[in-house]
């Protein structure tokens, strides 16, 4: 029963994130880009990416959400990667998203969770400037970690958890 309830919670959470992402990406990129949201799609095999000529063949992973942004004026494709959790975020999950970012070099990388970071990880990120060094993935871009409000389909609060 607990497993079933967790599955429902996860499904509702992901549905809420989908609604927010559609809204967020259309507002931010809709005028200049065609926006397509992929859910748990294995990027190396994804038909949208295959047709786009985006160099996808080494992207042998499936992020929770991938937003494919195709610039209207020249067809250039960029990605937004989103990882979502209905529990606290652990260090291995940050490491995994960082690897995705090293391969796909997305324009945005987001980690959204109902419960934020696990406290041991938050403690470490708060010291020695690790919030910047650990979450940076190229050309000054950072993985952003946010709490997510699934009741109202929005980011929880106005400030991200990390980086500070």
């Amino acid at each position: 029963m607990v497993v079933f309830e967790m599955a429902i919670k996860k499904k509702e959470f992901e549905d809420s994130v989908t609604r927010w992402l559609e809204n967020h990406t259309q507002k931010k990129y809709g005028k200049t880009h065609d926006v397509k949201i992929l859910h748990r799609s294995y990027l190396a095999k994804d038909e949208v990416l295959k047709k786009s000529k985006y160099n996808h063949s080494n992207l042998l992973f499936a992020p929770h959400f991938t937003v494919v942004l195709t610039r209207k004026k020249d067809g250039e494709v960029t990605l937004i990667l989103v990882a979502v959790y209905t529990k606290t975020i652990a260090l291995k999950e940050i490491g995994e998203l960082k690897l995705y970012c090293r391969m796909a070099n997305p324009v945005e990388a987001l980690m959204l969770s109902t419960d934020g970071l696990s406290s041991p990880v938050e403690t470490m990120l708060l010291s020695k400037g690790r919030d910047k060094t650990a979450l940076e993935y190229g050309n000054g871009k950072f993985i952003e970690i946010w709490r997510f409000d699934a009741v109202n389909d929005k980011l929880d609060g106005t400030n991200r958890i990390m980086p500070l």
Partner: protein, 543 residues
Amino acid sequence: MNGPLAYLIGLIAGRGHILEAERRIIIEFAHVQESLNRIPYCKCGDMATKKKGGSDLICKGCRSVVPNTAIKTVNQRESIEYSLSKGGVIEQISELSDSDDKISVRTSGNKTMTFFILDFESDSSTFKSILNDFNGDSCYDSFEIPPRILDSKTSRTIKIEFLNGFLDTAGKMNRGNWLQRPGKSRYGRQRGYIQIVRNWNIPVQLCNFLKSLGLPVQTIRWGHPHIVDGNQIDTYDKGPQSGFRDTQLKFFPEYYDEITLRIRHQALMFKEMASHNRGQFSTREACSAPNNIPVSKIRAPSPEINSTKIPELIRGVNIDAYWQICHMMGCKQTSTCFAGSTNKNLLFLTGKESVNLNNAQKERDVKRQDALDKIIDREKKNAAKKAAKPVTRAPRQKPEEKLYEPIANWLSKDEKLAADEVTYDTSVQTMDQYLKVNKLTGIFPGLADFNQKPDVVGLRKNDGFVVFIEVKAGSLSLTDLGQLLGYCMMADPDRAILISPSGPSGELALMLSSVPGLLEFGAGKRIQVGEWDDKKGFMDGGF
């Protein structure tokens, strides 16, 4: 175009990845099983096989028991490594590399896959021509046969070289693929096949190409759910994705004398299979599509019939015979038949034209519904059986735990660490606690707030040198690497190793070969990824 370039293009078309920005080509050579069995023979000269579930080899001719020593094996990994470093493949590639257009070559991989990595130096004209050949696509799952190979002016020798490359990567010379056929003096007809993964265009292109060279194709086993799992047993038992597999283009090797394979064991197996068949059979058994589709072969529609994994041309179409897919994907042989047909719809539906279309359609619709009803009934019964069975769960275990001690011993020798400088106690308590308990925090201040649990840790006291080893029992994945990278981002050890007896999964190995920067951490340091071998210790994958 010269022969070595045609061969390389064949390798790429079969299993290549083209990384334009890096000016790099990676070719996959799979060796899922370490060794392959060759054809075992009885003293009487006939082939011997094992019955399903049986342990004895029985001769197909004289029926006597044949000792298991008749099974000779080849080591695929060793053969591939040899061919890529000293043998026929590297000989071909070396001919392409010169001082003006230099290609540097290396290999990496794991237990199930070896990657042949070619880096084109300077502004390579060869690389540019290859990019052009594949129309800017980057992976074998979307490649097509380059136009200059198909060109009627291209010589037969060049075309055969292309096939040599394609067969060296995607060809499977597996003795288990034989057909039940009585030969003149021995039983069984050996078949090779070309394995094509996630690419729906190239099988028919390749088939047309082979036929244009007079090389017969027996059939194509498409990776379509209606062909792979027509009665949908696996679809319901293992999940809907099990209806999708690789596509196999099957052929009899005795007609492929011109082929020269350069992967040593492939060449050996190919020759052996051709020799087994040669002079034994009077018919070519070449594909003669379109063939009659009897009503008994009508399939129930798969739940995956509209999957986006199926190309749009075929998506949603009820497929009952392999040649229907071939026809829709551009088979020249069926196109010729259809061009002369007076009722193309009927020919597609039934494979013949001697019946009435409406009657045939109705009859087939009824049969299709019957087949579906039978599957639904079967699955209802299976669900009831499952519900009646109590669920028992085995206690959770961490199978990698038994590896900690031998790996710790290896690390101790490799880094010359004292007995108390290597530990796997950190797998059950956090690093900061371990340091406190052992009064080591002062020597390793960088780890004072590191509250995670690496599996095996080396801590050299005299210079504060730190090693983390993350150990897994199964194939290493990107998630496993993410975990160790997380540790490295927080604690910045001097050395970090990700290790398992299976080494990295094929996917991880391919990603590491494509993006070397994945392993970087700290100031110029790299995570080492490799295999654990009980005798040899840590074997670095060389990524």
